[in-house]
Amino acid sequence: MMNDLLSAPLTLNWTLSFRCNFSCSHCWSRDEAAPELDLKQLRAIVDVLAAHRIPFINFGGGEPLIREELLELCSYAVSRGLRVSMNSNGWHLDRTMARRIRQAGFSSVGISIDSPDSGVHDRFRSMPGSFERASNALGHLRDAGIKRTMSSVICTINHQELHGLIALARTYEVSALYLHNFKCSGEGMKNRAELDLSAEQWRSFYQHAIAIRQDLKGLNLTFDDPVIASLPGYAEQGMVKGSSCGKLSLHLRPNGDLTPCGFIPLVIGNILEEDFSRLWHDSPILNQMRNKVPTGQCASCASYEDCLGGCSARAFAESGDFNSPDPHCWK
């Protein structure tokens, strides 16, 4: 475990554009808008990351493949020693694009598939044919020899479909299946009553997933959710306790504004206009997230020292206060 703040984050989650060809039920960015930077400015951001030895860029969005500059930007970042990945809905990822992605130097590509049932996935993503395109994208990535992962946002449509998701991931020989916990931001907040699990359902889901993972071979089943730390006997240590946002990672909006993560709409500064180190070390928002104070049920909870109140984004979305308990907490 680290005993103090790192000199810089390890990962920058970079939203190049809020534009997307899908309209997903859980999307945090559907109603977001920001000017987009040109390639010269995007390269300048890569220079900032390289100067501060921030090694990992993960492009998300919005759909990253909507930006024509993506591949050239990736090549530049790789030439500066950075490792670049992205998460895509797979729609624009055909055989030719897979080859171009490989040439650009992407270290891995994640494709979002939320259900092994094509109809369920298509309805969730509000895009007929999206399951087939996403599945085909995984096949194209495999054929092009690109490391690939699969991402699923866990919610009411799929929390009992874990075996099916794993089987699908195995079909395309992905290295990891990321089970993203549902965030009540943007469309996710609007559709929360329909999509979010109860705290008890979250506990059951994670207990089930942990049990499955113990016997899983050849596939990395990943779920990065700080509330898991309060499960009895859960001994796995993350890189940091509590939310990793603002401790190991930051999020970049299309105009260069930095936020702790995509789900927390609080701007700490602009990467092209302000000194990055100063923002990282001195931002009152980040320091508040790094030094949370237990409130409510957390104040007397024995698990707090392990989970640090759970996901700060969910707490903030529900109450406007990072210190509030994570609404997914079952304790």
């Binding site: 680290m2 005993n3 103090d4 703040l5 790192l6 000199s7 390890l10 030895r53 090694p55 990992f56 490792r83 990395n220 890189m239 190991l248």
Partner: protein
């Protein structure tokens, strides 16, 4: 030729912590718990303390175990002969983790 870091392992010096550790050593404090070098291997983050980080930094394929020990001895005003076994043990541990090429 000496021990050489794997090129696919990302690592960086945590400058502020390194300064903090060096100042602590000057004062005679125990700074062994301060992580001054961060490594990412296999999706996991690892940290090395000041001495471990210095050894890691010198594992560039150009420094032998004896030369690394001499560099450390100079930095910490110690006898390099007394450091060799510790340095060798540390490098062996790095090799066992797959972070250093076998010599």
């Amino acid at each position: 030729m000496g021990p050489k870091r794997h090129t696919d392992i990302f690592w960086r010096v945590e400058k502020q912590r390194e300064t903090q550790a060096l100042e602590g050593v000057e004062r005679g404090d125990d700074c062994s718990e301060i992580g001054t070098v961060t490594l990412i291997s296999g999706g996991q983050m690892h940290q090395l303390n000041l001495i471990g980080g210095m050894i890691w930094n010198l594992c560039d394929g150009q420094h032998s175990i004896e030369e690394i020990s001499s560099e450390l001895a100079l930095e910490f005003e110690a006898d390099s002969e007394e450091l060799i076994d510790d340095v060798r043990g540390f490098v062996s541990d790095l090799q066992a983790r797959g972070w250093i090429d076998d010599e």
